[in-house]
Symmetry: C3
Subunit: 343 residues, 3 copies
Amino acid sequence: MSLSINVSELIDLFPGAIQSGQTSIGKLDGIANLRDAKVGDLSFLGNAKYKSQVEPCNASVILLPNDFQGKPSSNQLFIRVENPSRALAQVCELLEGKLYPAPAPGIHSTAFIEESASIHHSSSIGAFSYVGHESIIGPNCTINTHCHIGMGTTIGEGSVFYPGVKLLARCQIGKQVILNAGVVVGSEGYGFDQGDGSHQKIPHLGKVVIEDNVEVGANTCIDRARFEETKIGQGTKLDNLVQVGHNVKIGKNCLIVAQVGVSGSVLIEDEVIVGGQAGFAGHLKVGKGAKIAGQAGITKDVEPGAFLKGNPALPFHLAQRISVLQRKLPDLFNRFAQEKSKE
Amino acid sequence: MSLSINVSELIDLFPGAIQSGQTSIGKLDGIANLRDAKVGDLSFLGNAKYKSQVEPCNASVILLPNDFQGKPSSNQLFIRVENPSRALAQVCELLEGKLYPAPAPGIHSTAFIEESASIHHSSSIGAFSYVGHESIIGPNCTINTHCHIGMGTTIGEGSVFYPGVKLLARCQIGKQVILNAGVVVGSEGYGFDQGDGSHQKIPHLGKVVIEDNVEVGANTCIDRARFEETKIGQGTKLDNLVQVGHNVKIGKNCLIVAQVGVSGSVLIEDEVIVGGQAGFAGHLKVGKGAKIAGQAGITKDVEPGAFLKGNPALPFHLAQRISVLQRKLPDLFNRFAQEKSKE
Amino acid sequence: MSLSINVSELIDLFPGAIQSGQTSIGKLDGIANLRDAKVGDLSFLGNAKYKSQVEPCNASVILLPNDFQGKPSSNQLFIRVENPSRALAQVCELLEGKLYPAPAPGIHSTAFIEESASIHHSSSIGAFSYVGHESIIGPNCTINTHCHIGMGTTIGEGSVFYPGVKLLARCQIGKQVILNAGVVVGSEGYGFDQGDGSHQKIPHLGKVVIEDNVEVGANTCIDRARFEETKIGQGTKLDNLVQVGHNVKIGKNCLIVAQVGVSGSVLIEDEVIVGGQAGFAGHLKVGKGAKIAGQAGITKDVEPGAFLKGNPALPFHLAQRISVLQRKLPDLFNRFAQEKSKE
């Protein structure tokens, strides 16, 4: 990583921390784990089980827990803090602000804003972005380049839209929401009446509601509801290229990994974790805290706390056991044939 | 749904309908099914089996079939029509026009149109859209914001492009086609000659042809053909995030659900239905009316009318039977071991 | 294919070739294989096993190997070259230049370029593209419409970005790289610290490095690394809608087919081939030259040269054998039940 951290800035970041060793190091130019760190790097002891890696570590600065026993080598600085992982996160946030500076507030000269739109003066609208009629963008939002903000939408405080996000008419975005590049929110639901062999479009009059602290990965698509709303609950994180069908409700603090497909009208309760490429048939209910393994195919309701795998999905341990037995099928068939021939 | 329907408008929509009950209700502000409807909602009896839900229903207005027996409660209006589902669709189309009004004809001040392009005066071109050389856009089309209309393309009457559609050079779009946000039509096919360990690009000189009444879901990709054309047949509906490879031909009135992958040169005949996340290996033929379950992996030609499931795909009922038996494998192995130990 | 090739141009393309037959054909208007070619088409004998198809072939011009025995019919031209497949590729490249002409060098009047950006005078920047601070675009690049070139990025000589590519801050693109429409490079990685039931964002400070001659399919997403770099090796080809997670390293000359998902920190060595919709769990190593069948689910390290299939993935032939035996499970259960009843 070609970045630059002043050690004095680091020290300022943790006013209550206990330093020992060389404090006049100047600049750091990388972050690495204890084993890989070189001179000039920052490292950290995030988990006590790696304690023995501290002594041989070459990092110039190491973040350590308050109760860590041991001394820095020469030209090395130890900074003792309550929680080294949190401390590292603070360092990373500081650096993130430098590497990916939020654009200055204001509307880019090339953006187009409809007159009836309302944009808080602390927010920024990037090049070639379009903001539609009667939309409302709250404070401290960053709308990057090439975004489409449809008419009648609302966007809460501190939300960030990366380039090329399409937020379609009437959808609602909470506070501190992050939509990565190319995300589509509010596309038409996939629903048709079967006619005389042809498929008649069912108009989709609803919207999408995304609550606070949600993050949505690049090129993910969330369809609007038929009448009411498709909803993504507070704190839920969707990865890239996920499909969320019309009328779906996803609860709070769920993790939905890349390329998952959630069919229309599925209800996913809070704290559900779904592995990559898993799929859900329509109109299912997935109970609170359930875990779904990657590539699983879910075609029935899932009990709260269940852990499922495979297609058709089975309880994880049964699925594992069957996988092992499948590998023994050639042997079973052989033995069965031998038994028969003995008779 | 925060919308507003004047009951007088409703009555005007069905001039031949028979009303009974309270006609001075004023406004409705929602649509819901019989069980969920509240005062102020419109509901409907779409299927005779829900007949018993009409009496306790709280909706202010209910669309009912002509032969329905029963009376409205006080402050309730019954509207009897030939087909309540169709009638509801008519209401929805009316509302859709209000919620998602088509932009006025004309070219947005920020759009860029090459001089040799031809755009019908009844069509609209949105903000920041680009229309390339010698492209032809027919009457009553809506090209939304940030669209790329490549050179030499044609777009038929009444087609709608949502924001950020990329229609690449020389592709042809029929009438009444809907391309959702972020759709890519005409990307380079994925084909390479194997050289000395490296992969030499095969130029793709063909195009994509999309026939009338096709709909394509958000962020779906359709590659152009090597020499001739990749084709999506009339009335076929593709969902979001679908992959259609080079030279593929999809017939008429097919339904291809989200995240399906169709490899190069596959031929899918008319009226085929494919569940989400299913995949097709290259150069296969899928017969008319076949049904493919979600997540199925198709590696061989499929007979017309077949219904397949699983990977490798098997006839649906055999696949179901094997799924059941797999769950009994632990028991079978145990019993086999017991038999052996008895000997 | 509605295109136009002057036969005289064809002849000029192969100065050392031996012609026989009618040289005054004028124009060709299509390319087809020997069996399908009509009068007016160009065809070619790419593989000696199709030799017998040359005599009945109706093509007006046929590219043949130098040692081909046989004579053209009247009004037909044979052109003998060393390698007809290569010769056809040359013809296709000539046509590609006509059908998809690279835009003239220069910056479109509607593009927006930050002052500190550096763009080589031989490159073109399309309508509504944005080029960020301190980015560097090398010679002979084509940046199409609606592209976002983030700050601090570099793009090597001869690279082509189709419409709507989003290249986020600090990412590096090599020479002769092709990014198809809608590609996202450098999106935030999907990584969170688990707190008190909620998920705390882990800042992603790294970047994406794409080496020379890489091609990336439409709407594919490549996340940036946490600290260092996500990397796509020289000559590797990614198809459409592929997901590449943070910190992934993909080696040289790999083929990754559509809708594959590669989880964070996976290491894929050189010359690996991955079929469509396959998925990799995080932190795995996939050895050089491994082949992974479509839809496979890889949850463990893969040996160099291995060929795996299924989920859980097994060696290809074992997976095939088990598939066959699974189909016999109903029979096995029946026979086992009969054995029991006999006792």
